[in-house]
């Protein structure tokens, strides 16, 4: 060592620097990191952004215009009523009655609120259990809805509405004992439609198979015999 220190010429010092300094080699992962960092990521297609912008603009326009577009409403009044009654039945299945009351106790209140007086009303038996009765507002009419449940758990809704101009269609009528209501299917539900005076009556259920329909007809008879709706005012 001392020999080297003594020899202190520029040339010797330069040689020492080249020979004695540790040469550090780059870690292998550094090369990988650099190559990965320098590799360009796959670019999005040029058309993608304008396409997305156009789609987003179109969607906003559709959302803005949709509320003012004319709605497709069934021209057939029976169909309109049935659709409204089925919606009400579906709502009752999902969330229960809004203002469920017990019959016959609540009849005076129900008559006042619905505009339909029930001079006789079916309050359930061994096959159909009464669930709730409530006033409803369907197709711009006040009415009454009574919900029942059978022993298999099927919900059956009876709805009575003032329906002066409603005509029960002949071609869908079915004979059930002495009555001939129309059997209308909508949205996976079966509805029996008939009139009692100026009141339109609807019985709705999810009983749609041929066996179920026969039972549904039995329920119709029980309710039809025992229920008499009339406009209250």
């Amino acid at each position: 060592m001392s020999e080297r220190i003594d020899d202190t010429s520029d040339e010797v010092l330069g040689r020492r620097l080249a020979a004695e300094l540790t040469r550090h080699t780059a870690p292998a992962r550094l090369r990988v990191t650099i190559v990965e960092a320098a590799t360009p990521r796959s670019r999005r297609p040029v058309w993608l952004m304008p396409m997305l912008s156009a789609a987003a603009t179109a969607m906003i326009l559709v959302l803005a215009v949709m509320p003012v577009l004319p709605r497709i409403v069934p021209a057939d009044p029976v169909q309109r009523y049935v659709r409204a009654v089925v919606s009400e039945h579906s709502r009752a299945i999902m969330w229960g009655a809004r203002h469920g009351e017990v019959l016959p106790t609540a009849l005076p209140w129900l008559t006042r609120e619905s505009g339909i007086a029930l001079s006789r009303v079916f309050v359930g038996d061994e096959r159909l259990e009464f669930v709730a009765a409530e006033p409803v507002y369907l197709e711009r009419q006040r009415g009454v809805a009574i919900h029942y449940k059978d022993s298999d758990g099927h919900m059956i809704s009876y709805v009575a509405l003032p329906a002066l101009g409603l005509t029960v269609p002949d071609r869908e009528r079915v004979q059930i004992e002495k009555w001939r209501p129309a059997l209308v299917r909508d949205s996976g539900f079966a509805s029996l439609v008939w009139k009692q005076g100026d009141v339109g009556c609807f019985l709705v259920s999810d009983m749609v198979s041929s066996d179920d329909i026969e039972r549904f007809k039995e329920y119709f008879v029980r309710i039809r015999v025992s229920t008499e709706p009339v406009p209250a005012y």
Binding site: H24, T25, A37
Partner: protein
């Protein structure tokens, strides 16, 4: 001019030399990693500025040193405003560098210890000219100064180095 793939291959051939130089500048392996990576990213980004026929190795050294000085100055500024007024040299040179950088590189010989005590510009001329064997013209290009200045810095750097080695010898 080589195409992108060739250029990268040629540039990566100098990885070990650049890492060695970076480690002698930073002294911390983690910072040297970041410095070399940043150097390559800049080189690839500004590949079009490289003049064919010139020394690629020198161009890369120049980018590395400029990058080092840029971040070194930032670190100096940050250290100068440390809350307790004491310069904090442990502040990482790169902001996303891990706080604990794995320690400072070991110095095994008096020569290495003496080299680390030299100012950066003296250390750089010695590393480029004597260790990496770059011609003085290339060193001048890296340092962005005339060849005469490089010669004078080498002379003065060696003088300082000799003095430091003598001190170590006495101890």
């Amino acid at each position: 001019m080589p195409d992108g793939g060739d250029f990268r291959q040629q540039a990566l051939a100098h990885l070990d030399a650049l890492y060695n130089f970076a480690l002698y500048l930073c002294r911390k392996p983690a910072e040297a990693d970041d410095l070399v990576q940043e150097t390559y990213l800049r080189a690839f980004r500004f590949e079009a500025r490289f003049q064919p026929g010139t020394h690629l190795r020198a161009w890369l050294f120049q980018i590395l040193r400029n990058t080092f000085l840029t971040f070194y100055r930032v670190r100096e500024r940050e250290a100068a405003v440390a809350e307790d007024g004491v310069p904090d040299w442990d502040v990482p040179m790169f902001h996303d560098a891990p706080e604990e950088t794995g320690g400072v590189m070991d110095t095994h010989t008096d020569l290495e210890r003496a080299l680390h005590r030299l100012p950066e510009d003296f250390r750089t001329v010695l590393l480029l000219a004597e260790v990496e064997g770059l011609p003085l013209e290339e060193v001048a290009r890296v340092m962005v100064c005339p060849v005469g200045t490089v010669k004078s810095r080498i002379f003065r750097a060696k003088e300082r180095l000799r003095a430091l080695l003598r001190d170590y010898e006495k101890k």
